[in-house]
């Protein structure tokens, strides 16, 4: 068998096709690499048998190899279309059914060619004719053959259009790669046009030769241009849209690149050419000084106030190296921190203001209570002296009112002083206190009033319960809650106050329950622990007790809450610490 020289380029195309197949198959299929590989594999099959056909000496062998070419030929273009669709990211609506349907006609063509001797649908006649150099197979074309060519032509056109459209939308970084793909597919398409027009120079099929060129283009594209490598584009995308400014300068301090943020921040868009560090310094005064301080090993990080724009800019400058470890230039990152900076300043000012206000308030509380008390005690003393000296005054109604007013004034001032003292004095130390003893002492202190008011007071507190508290505060809280319970008892009821206690990991929770008047919490909860809020008409209500109790409990690191139903009674819950912090 004489090996025809014309078979050599065809065979090279086959090898190239296999190489590209293998190469693209290792890349995965995110951008259609596998489809492209399958297309090249089909081309290789086709080209392989065509090279054998060209090398064959007799008609029978030629006919056999011609038929075997169709194991690959019909599938080249469908796979190319699938690649184009995936490569351009247009395959969202492509279902598996559609993919299979693309292959119906190619499979039919393959079957028609392989069984041609029975029906002659693909080829009507075979003959060998010399083209002047060697014998070539000349065939009569049947409808199945024409179908194959037209179908391939249409699919190639669609694929080409997909790629062509991508040229307009793709990032310019991608342009030349896509253009290469476009060129390769266009060449393929031209070959099928030639086929359709019946232009077959020297009786040689141009498809394998064209695929030699196409394969070369793709191989170069894959190896050199890295068709499917998106990382540089991704880097560029990130660089451009980063949430901070980036400036890259070379060893001569010229700006090589700046991202959108940096351009906006420094107003670089107005400049016609990319500037150097001196020009950048005009946009951000002080930048150059820091820039000069940067060495290979010492970066600079600082905040700089841009006096031109009133912005605070956070700057970081460091030098960078090439892959060969040579200093290549410096990178400046910029970030607008004006709002953060302003917030910090505002917060500091607010803190200073609050501190001084607090100090003044303390001073005010002390002076006010001091002066008020002095005057008030004087008034009370003078009234009592008058009363002693002029016994007839007692009978005067106005004098009695004056006396009551003076008494009430003194009472209110005493309470105010207590509040001032509680809120301004440094915290007293906590100590372990027996809850039971405290409760019993409080009950004993108030039992006389309770009896005269027909209120039973009971408790069930185990002897071993201890809490960390300030004893004076705790006494005052108990006394206050018990006094309230008696004061706001429900008339006619069999009144009681009961103190019980539960615990969890951190807290002892004291429950002070009564069946008194109760409080409408929906309306009054917010005011309940406030200052000078009263809820019942009672001559001794001052509205200071619960406010004090709450402040005292909080001073001991605890909390107080209340449940209440008007007409049924209230339960006060007190959380107090079991352990010293």
């Amino acid at each position: 068998m004489f090996f025809n020289l014309f078979a050599v380029p065809v065979f090279i195309a086959v090898l190239l096709g296999l190489l590209v197949t293998a190469k693209s198959y290792t890349l995965g299929n995110t951008r259609g690499e596998r489809y492209f590989g399958l297309s090249m594999a089909s081309t290789s099959v086709y080209g392989f048998f065509y090279s054998l056909e060209l090398s064959s000496a007799n008609l029978e062998l030629m006919t056999l190899f011609l038929k075997l070419q169709y194991l690959g030929a019909p599938f080249i273009i469908p796979f190319l279309l699938l690649f184009a669709i995936r490569y351009t990211n247009s395959d969202r609506p492509l279902s598996p059914l559609k993919i299979v349907s693309i292959f119906i006609i190619p499979l039919f063509v393959m079957a028609a060619v392989l069984t041609n001797s029975f029906h002659g649908l693909a080829y009507t006649s075979y003959a060998t004719v010399s083209n002047g150099f060697f014998d070539v197979l000349i065939t009569g074309k049947g409808p199945a053959y024409q179908l194959h060519v037209i179908y391939s032509l249409i699919l190639t056109l669609i694929a080409d259009i997909y790629i062509f459209m991508l040229l307009f939308t793709v990032h310019r970084y991608f342009f030349w790669r896509v253009f290469l793909v476009f060129t390769a597919i266009t060449l393929t398409w031209l070959v099928y046009i030639l086929h359709l027009l019946g232009i077959i120079p020297l009786g040689l099929d141009a498809v394998p030769f064209m695929f030699l060129i196409t394969g070369l283009l793709f191989y170069v594209g894959l190896v050199k241009a890295q068709f499917f490598n998106v990382i540089p584009a991704a880097h560029r995308q990130v660089f451009q849209n980063l949430n901070q400014g980036l400036l890259v300068l070379d060893n001569d301090d010229r700006l090589i690149s700046a991202n959108n943020y940096a351009e906006m921040l420094l107003g670089l868009r107005e400049l016609s050419a990319l500037p150097d560090i001196r020009l950048l310094d005009q946009k951000l005064p002080g930048l150059a000084a820091f820039y000069q301080d940067v060495t290979e090993s010492v970066p600079v990080n600082t905040d700089l106030f841009n006096s031109l724009t009133g912005q605070w800019i956070e700057i970081s400058i460091q030098s960078f190296k090439t892959s060969r470890n040579q200093t290549a230039g410096k990178v400046i990152t910029l970030r607008d921190i004006t709002s953060r900076r302003n917030t910090e300043i505002e917060r500091e000012q607010l803190l200073t203001l609050t501190q001084s206000q607090n100090e003044r308030l303390q001073q005010f509380a002390h002076i006010a209570s001091h002066n008020l008390r002095s005057h008030c005690t004087n008034i009370s003393a003078l009234i009592s002296f008058l009363e002693e000296d002029e016994t007839s005054l007692k009978d005067k109604e106005d004098f009695r009112y004056l006396k009551t007013a003076a008494y009430n004034l003194q009472d209110s001032i005493e309470h105010l002083s207590e509040v001032a003292r509680l809120h301004t004095s440094s915290p007293l130390p906590l100590q372990a206190v027996s809850l039971r003893l405290t409760a019993e002492r409080a009950i004993a202190g108030i039992i006389a009033i309770a009896r005269s008011s027909d209120v039973r007071i009971s408790h069930e507190i185990p002897a071993n319960y201890h809490i960390w508290a300030i004893p004076a505060y705790l006494d005052s809280i108990f006394l206050n809650l018990l006094t309230n319970g008696i004061r706001y008892r429900s008339p006619g009821n069999d009144s009681f106050i009961h103190i019980s206690c539960t615990e969890d990991n951190d807290w002892l929770i004291i429950h002070v329950k009564d069946n008194g008047l109760g409080i409408d919490l929906e309306r009054n909860k917010r005011k309940l622990f406030g200052m000078f809020n009263t809820f019942h008409e009672h001559p001794e209500s001052r509205g200071i007790g619960l406010f004090m109790s709450k402040a005292q409990i909080e001073a001991m690191g605890g909390k107080i809450d209340v449940e209440s139903t008007p007409g049924q009674g209230s339960v006060f819950h007190l959380w107090l610490r079991k352990h010293n912090k």
């Binding site: 509380a365 002390h366 209570s369 001091h370 002066n371 008390r373 002095s374 005690t377 004087n378 009370s380 003393a381 003078l382 002296f385 002083s417 001032a420 003292r421 301004t424 004095s425 440094s426």
Partner: protein, 133 residues
């Protein structure tokens, strides 16, 4: 009732002077009562009469907030006096400032801090305590 004791009030509140005088009457107190409007006035009076026990108090009721010399000024200067007998000092004030209360008791010459209002009971207690000495 021990009546050989003299008492001094150092306070800018003239009504308070009157109140103390009245309270002493209530207690049937027969000693002398010296009144001074500020620390400096008292200091000068004591230093002029340092050898005259008749003109010196045994008990001083000292206010804190006063013009010219306040209570602290008086206490700081007081040790420079060499009096024929050392009176006992009570700081009497209606202050609620715990820092001031604490500070008052750091002076060795101060026996105690007494909160206003002053009443007959408190005064009698002071006099009784001093009389036992």
């Amino acid at each position: 009732m021990n009546t050989e004791l003299n008492l001094a009030v150092i306070d800018d509140d003239l009504i308070y002077h009157r109140v103390v005088k009245r309270l002493l009457q209530t207690c049937n107190y027969s000693g002398k009562l010296f009144t001074y409007k500020n620390g400096r006035e008292a200091y000068e009076a004591f230093s002029q009469n340092s050898d005259n026990p008749e003109a010196l108090p045994h008990i001083i009721l000292l206010d804190i907030n006063m013009p010219v010399w306040d209570g602290w000024d008086f206490l700081n200067e007081y040790n420079k006096l060499s009096l024929s007998h050392k009176p006992v000092i009570y700081v009497v004030s209606s202050t609620t400032n715990p820092d001031e209360i604490k500070r008052a008791t750091t002076y060795s010459c101060v026996r105690d801090f007494v909160e206003k209002p002053l009443n007959a009971g408190k005064i009698m207690e002071m006099i009784a305590l001093q009389g036992q000495r």
